[in-house]
Amino acid sequence: MSRVRPPYGEHPVVLPPGAAAPAPEHPRLDLDTRLAIFRTQQEIRLLEKRLYDLFLQNLVKGTSHLAIGMEAVGAAFGVAVRPDDYSFATYRGHGHTIARGVPPEPIIAEMLGRATGLLGGKGGSMHLTSVRHGMMGSYAIIGAHLCIANGAAWSAKVRGTDQVAVAFFGDGATNIGAFHEAVNFAAVYELPTIFVCENNLYMEYTSIAQVTAVDHPAADRAAAYGLDGVVVDGNDADAVFVAACAAIDRARAGGGPSIIEATTYRHGGHSRADPGTYRPAEEVAAWKEYDPLALYHRRLLDLGVEEARLAAIVHEVVEAIDAATEAAIAAPPPAPEALLTNVWADGGSAWRN
């Protein structure tokens, strides 16, 4: 099979915009909202950096997939949704979990495999879930959760609420069958599902351009479902927020699903042990330079917010994460009895009498 895509390792270098667009305006994008977005991005970045430190200290045993560099998407959506809306993420879902308001301690504890973990140590990094926060799960097999998100959206419709379901997924996920089934299904029944592709240009170690027939793996497919695909600067949280509000408002009003493709980049490798060296150095450097947190910091200063106010927020976040880390490290491992609980609704795992 000879390929039309560029040969491996020579994928087209994709550079970020030189500078962010001017701050977009939107009725809901007031200063409090922007500060919430700022805080959430910091929470994600700092918590994920902490997780990386813990990994280096050999305290995180399983795998983990960080979204450092991609915080703007999760933060903007986290602030844009309503508390009763539903979020569905992939294994790269720490940020989305944090953005729905899940506190850092159970997240860290789960990563460390502690009894106090968000999932009692049973799920691990790839499956963070907090139903009471509307964080309906992190899913580690590509594609399925796009179909599952439709179910939550359908349920909202049947129950007559105006909740929406947001499903986050990677560029690579757009080539699996479940993507196609999910988007068509949502379009046919006009479900309030918002499909958010976090296009970070790479799958694991292979560039999406090599294995995809179109340039925009999600947005260029929208028309196949009668939808308008939207491409947005995924490193500009305000831009994401505006796109999110449009999609959420439409979905709530019964206008059906949307596809949003947010272009972004992960600063590190695919998962914990991957240095990400398959990527052109120039590309990595440019995207690290075009960092969503730096961009947003600058924007808030430009909008007249005082540096001290932002520093105070960062300080609060660091303190919360420090305290959470300490508590998580001190927590015990799961009790042996936990092994056999919660397979069934009766709390147990018996399959025979």
Binding site: K122, T129, I141, G143, N150, V158, R159, N342, N353
Partner: protein
């Protein structure tokens, strides 16, 4: 009390629960307007309307995904996977998502859902439309599996499945759809996880499921003429498994035969045979014998398919030989 077909029993069980509970909804290909390709959902659209009974695209992953997402957010949905062979196109949703979600989230996620599916052979549909795949499901921790063999059980086990807080797969046997039975009027709710002794006997225990149940019963009658008094148990539920009823029976009869329609390897019969060989070894007076379809895909020609699936004669013959 009125005569009811196994086919009609499916819709009766579902309708009974949809009437009772407005959160019960139904989803599948050709299930609404057409009433299902096996006509097992006839009448549901008329009674419950298009918001609760929904025709879908040919998108089994989307169907089961929708089921799961709806179940975790307050509905009690039911889906049809038309032929159980098609579980292969959406097995990820069953095996990796629906089955594991409660455990992985340490109990946060509840999935009160039902998936019903036409299963089994004998109707000359060939290898891709005739499989018995209940053992695929039994092998996956986190799903319950029931296999009614008659109309009354179908109504009652369907109702129990809908009320159950865990995901349940109901396998309907395609070759039984036309069979009929007198079924009591009014609400019927059965219990998952219960086997049923259909014919008490002293000399050996025969376990069967689905289409193999009537054949095992007929074989037992034939064996009676030879002086072999066989106990026939309809296993009904693979997960949870009524191991007690089975082990007690073997305790009385000292011999076990399983009659399986699925291909030979790793079927429910292997599981039950090995449970007995472990837990009731000292009760046994002779080998545990599995009577199965050979380990082959099912052929379509009538003569070949009839040779493949255990027949009454083959069941009786193998038992006679083993008991001889």
């Amino acid at each position: 009390m009125a005569e009811l077909s196994y086919r009609e029993a499916v819709a009766r069980g579902i309708a009974q629960e949809m009437r009772r509970d407005p959160t019960v909804v139904f989803l599948g290909e050709d299930v609404a307007g057409a009433g299902g390709v096996f006509k097992t959902t006839a009448g549901l659209l008329d009674e419950f309307g298009p918001d609760r009974v929904v025709d879908t695209p040919i998108s089994e992953q989307a169907i089961l995904g929708a089921l799961m997402g709806a179940a975790m957010t307050g509905l009690r949905p039911i889906a049809e996977i038309m032929f159980s062979d098609f579980f292969a196109v959406c097995w990820d949703l069953v095996a990796n998502e629906i089955a594991k979600s409660r455990y992985m989230t340490d109990g946060q996620v509840s999935l009160p859902l039902v998936i019903k599916s036409g299963n089994g052979g004998g109707v000359r549909f060939g290898a891709q439309h005739s499989q018995s795949v209940e053992n695929w499901a039994m092998a996956i921790p986190g799903i319950k599996v029931a296999t009614p063999s008659c109309a009354a059980d179908m109504v009652g086990l369907m109702a129990a499945a809908v009320r159950d807080p865990d995901p349940v797969l109901i396998f309907e046997h395609k070759a039984l759809y036309a069979t009929k039975q007198d079924v009591p009027d009014g609400e019927i709710v059965d219990r998952l996880g219960t086997a049923r002794i259909l014919r008490p006997g002293r000399h050996c225990t025969i376990l069967a499921l689905g289409l193999m149940v009537p054949r095992a019963l007929a074989a037992a009658e034939a064996l009676a003429a030879d002086g072999i008094d066989a106990e026939v148990i309809d296993v009904r539920s693979l997960v949870p498994l009524d191991a007690r009823t089975i082990l007690d029976s073997v305790g009385r009869t000292a011999r076990l035969f399983t009659v399986e329609e699925n291909p030979r390897l790793c079927g429910w019969g292997a599981e039950l045979a090995s449970i007995v060989a472990e837990d009731a070894f000292w009760d046994l007076d002779g080998p545990v014998v599995r009577i199965t379809t050979p380990h082959i895909p099912l052929p379509s020609a009538a003569e070949l398919e009839d040779l493949a699936i255990p027949s009454t004669e083959r069941i009786a013959g193998e038992i006679r030989r083993a008991m001889g």
